[in-house]
């Protein structure tokens, strides 16, 4: 055998071995990590078919069966037509979550998009300052935001009611009056939505600013030369061109709205009269306060289906086939 060929083969064999070792050393930990994640998801998937509580020992295999019996689709049937307190709370929570998400998304867009446009049109020196100011609430802890707004909403000592009193109005128990409402939504839900919007709007605003900065200036200038007003240029040029960003913002805002938890737990804990009880809060209470893990897993699956469905719908409606 030719010596050079032999050396080449050894060298290639050594490289292949090194590659295999590298792939194995990288893949195995990843597989282990992924398998844990998959196990948790699989466990939740299995649990939703059982009346499972960690307080009960149950059967021999992972505590399933026995005093944690298999109920098949029983949890889902109960959600639809049951009269139990869990079923009632689930339906209320689902309705409240939908209200929250449907109200938050357009309000968020109505605030963040014009604000981003305005910020884009001011001088560079003030742009950074305002951007920082508007983004600060995003960096604040949700619990801190909730406590601040609770203080402002306090019926006796909050400054919102103080202003109302100063103008001779009737103060409102913003977070605790189940009778007060507007447009068939309780005033407590509006109060929570306002606090949530205040904390969240800076995030979308920054994304919109980045998108607006990415639009070629010539397009806007051409429109203005052709006689379009700034408003028309915004509507007819800017908005269509940031449609992919709009899709991203819509999907992300909708997702985070469906997952709202901490701000509501601190501000109202679902009250008054369950008017702000949302799905994640209900799932949390079912699982960890009332140990009803099977039910909580079934609720989580329903939430997953809803979020997936809504996201798919948004992507179909708003996707574009072009780039600039």
């Amino acid at each position: 055998m030719n010596l050079a060929v032999s050396r080449n083969r050894i060298s290639k064999g050594g490289l292949a071995t090194s590659k295999r070792r590298f792939v194995t050393s990288v893949t195995l930990p990843l597989l282990l990590y992924e398998s844990i994640g998959l196990f948790v998801l699989g466990w939740a998937f299995v649990l939703m078919f059982f009346d499972y509580s960690p307080g009960r020992i149950g059967g021999a295999i992972l505590g399933l069966g026995g005093s944690n019996p298999f109920v098949g689709l029983g949890n889902f049937i109960e959600m639809i037509k049951g009269t139990s307190v869990q079923a009632n709370l689930f339906r209320i929570s689902l309705k409240n979550t939908l209200i929250f998400a449907v109200v938050v998304l357009p309000l968020n867009l109505a605030i963040t998009l014009p604000l981003a446009w305005l910020l884009e049109s001011i001088g560079r020196r003030f742009k950074a300052l305002y951007r920082t100011i508007y983004f600060l609430p995003v960096l604040t802890s949700s619990v801190g935001v909730a406590l601040i707004w609770m203080t402002m909403y306090n019926p006796q000592s909050g400054w919102i009611n103080a202003i109302i009193r100063a103008f001779g109005g009737t103060p409102v128990a913003w977070l605790s009056d189940p009778r007060a409402g507007f447009a068939n939504v309780s005033v407590a839900m509006w109060a929570v939505i306002l606090a949530y919007l205040w904390q969240d709007y800076g995030y979308n605003m920054v994304i919109f600013i980045a998108a607006l900065q990415g639009i070629p200036q010539e397009l806007r200038e051409a429109a203005l030369i052709d006689g379009a007003s700034p408003w028309q240029a915004f509507l007819k040029i800017s908005i269509p061109l940031i449609r992919p960003t709009l899709l991203f913002v819509c999907v992300m805002t909708m997702l985070s709205s469906f997952q709202v938890f901490d701000i509501i737990q601190v501000m109202t804990n679902g009250g008054p009269g369950n008017h702000t009880q949302v799905l994640i809060l209900d799932i949390y209470k079912s699982a960890f306060r009332y140990q009803n893990m099977g039910w909580a897993a079934a609720e989580s699956f329903v939430l997953f289906l809803i979020v997936m469905g809504v996201t798919q719908f948004q992507m179909r409606v708003m996707r574009t086939n072009w780039e600039y």
């Binding site: 307080g55 020992i57 505590g63 307190v85 103060p171 009056d177 189940p178 009250g271 893990m293």
Partner: protein, 442 residues
């Protein structure tokens, strides 16, 4: 071949992961005393972990008792670990199925019916049920007995019924007789009306009688049913009977009190102006809450300068019959390798009069031991306890419910609060309470 190896590895990983979260490795069948424990090797200390929920007053009560026990037993090391209340619940629920819980577990007695499958029964040589009933008040020991098996020993008589904080400063400012001379609940309402204050817009700024938090609401609801001669259990305790004339009369009484103006439940409830916070900020004349609130209020509001004291309400009618939870107590994990030491320690904490006295005074709780409750030492440290002594024998255990918290906090309280806030009628609320509470048995 590579695919097969990879598949095998994946299956192995799944199986190993699954085994990690499996059932406990050792359980003790109901009614059977645990086997003799593994005695620590000579010279090696027996280390026992003890889990409690975070309550600084409670922890301050445990620490000297643990130190005293360790001094008596140099070979024993008890490590106290505490968790915030919500985190404690989650930790119990995840650790117990994995068999990773501590040796000694602080448990609210009423929870025992939910956890008993994962708890060790009290060995007969440590204490029998009969001995337990003779040692402790009926209400606190009741929750630790499930299916005629004793699972723990109580430390406190959790009396949510009947106790009220009274603001002396406000009483005197309103020209009322202090201490209050209440013969009937109508006397209480009469005083409360004179303590109410509103601002110029009509919003209540001082509640005369704040009884609209969750615990006072369910406690007075259940006691009201009992005092009127009714019951909320069916004959064999397999279901609830909440839609009764006695229940209706009690909710109507509460609604009448609200309509009379002693409290505005819109701005004084469990979430807004919770009774402890509101009382110790000077926004309540008479605040309905258990004695446990005293230590918490004093700790959280050290600058509160009003004078106040703790009193007990008269019965709505007849004897002051009431129902109570089994309060906090101690249990043992069936997975503990030192169960005999754990039970010996628990007996030391709960039945030794000196230790029980020390813990109850430190935690500000009503003793579960009658002898301690009646002691001069407790009376001197907690002057409100002697006032409760006449009522304590009337306390009954509320009964083992499938999910006590769900019934109290998600069914009874929200519906009654709805009635008081004017968004549900009495009949609607009782029908809903009855249906929803009975669904917890399914």
């Amino acid at each position: 071949m590579k695919h097969k190896i990879l598949t095998l590895m994946l299956v192995l990983i799944f199986v190993l992961t699954a085994c990690g979260g499996g059932t406990p490795t050792a359980t003790v069948p109901e009614g059977v005393a645990p086997a003799a424990t593994t005695a620590p090797e000579s010279g090696e200390p027996a280390v026992l972990r003890m889990w409690v929920h975070t309550n600084n007053a409670f922890i301050a009560g445990y620490e000297p008792i643990i130190a005293a026990y360790e001094a008596d037993h140099p070979n024993v090391d008890i490590q106290l670990e505490n968790f915030d209340y919500e985190l404690y619940l989650q930790t119990l629920q995840t650790a117990m199925p994995a068999g990773e819980e501590a040796d000694i577990l602080q448990l609210f007695g009423t929870w025992t019916s939910q956890y008993y499958e994962r708890l060790a029964p009290v060995p007969a040589e440590v204490m029998t049920i009969e001995q337990a009933k003779q040692t402790f008040y009926v209400a606190p020991i009741g929750g630790f007995i499930v299916n005629d098996v004793l699972y723990g020993m109580p430390q406190e008589f959790n009396m949510e019924y009947g106790g009220v904080l009274v603001n002396k400063t406000k009483y005197e400012a309103a020209g009322l007789t202090y201490p209050p001379q209440w013969e009937t609940m109508e006397d209480v309402l009469a005083d409360a009306l004179k303590l109410v204050k509103k601002d110029e817009s009509g919003m209540m700024t001082t509640a005369g009688f704040h009884f609209t938090s969750a615990d006072p609401t369910w406690a007075s609801f259940l006691a009201g049913i009992k005092q009127r001669g009714g019951d909320y259990w069916n004959a064999d305790q397999t279901g609830f009977t909440f839609n009764t004339p006695e229940a209706k009369a009690q909710v109507q009484w509460m609604l009448d009190a609200v309509n009379a103006g002693v409290v505005d439940p819109i701005v004084f409830n469990d979430e807004t102006n919770f009774v402890i916070d509101a009382f110790f900020q000077g926004m309540v004349g008479i605040g309905y809450i258990g004695t446990w609130a005293i230590a918490e209020g004093q700790a959280n509001f050290p600058d509160f300068t009003d004078e106040w004291d703790y009193f007990y309400l008269p019965a709505i009618q007849g004897d002051p019959v009431f129902v109570a939870d089994s309060g906090w107590g101690l249990t043992v994990s069936p997975n503990s390798k030192n169960q005999d030491i754990a039970w010996d320690f628990i007996k030391f904490v709960t039945t030794d009069p000196a230790n029980a006295t020390q813990w109850n005074i430190a935690s500000g709780t009503i003793p579960a031991l009658p002898a301690v409750a009646e002691s001069a030492e407790v009376a001197a440290a907690m002057p409100w306890i002697p006032k409760a002594l006449d009522s304590l024998p009337f306390g009954q255990y509320m009964g083992n419910m499938p999910d006590r918290d769900l019934v109290m906090y998600e069914i009874i309280y929200p519906h009654i609060l709805n009635v008081l806030q004017g968004v549900e009628t009495v009949d609607q609320a009782l029908e809903a309470i009855d249906t929803e509470a009975n669904s917890t048995f399914e």
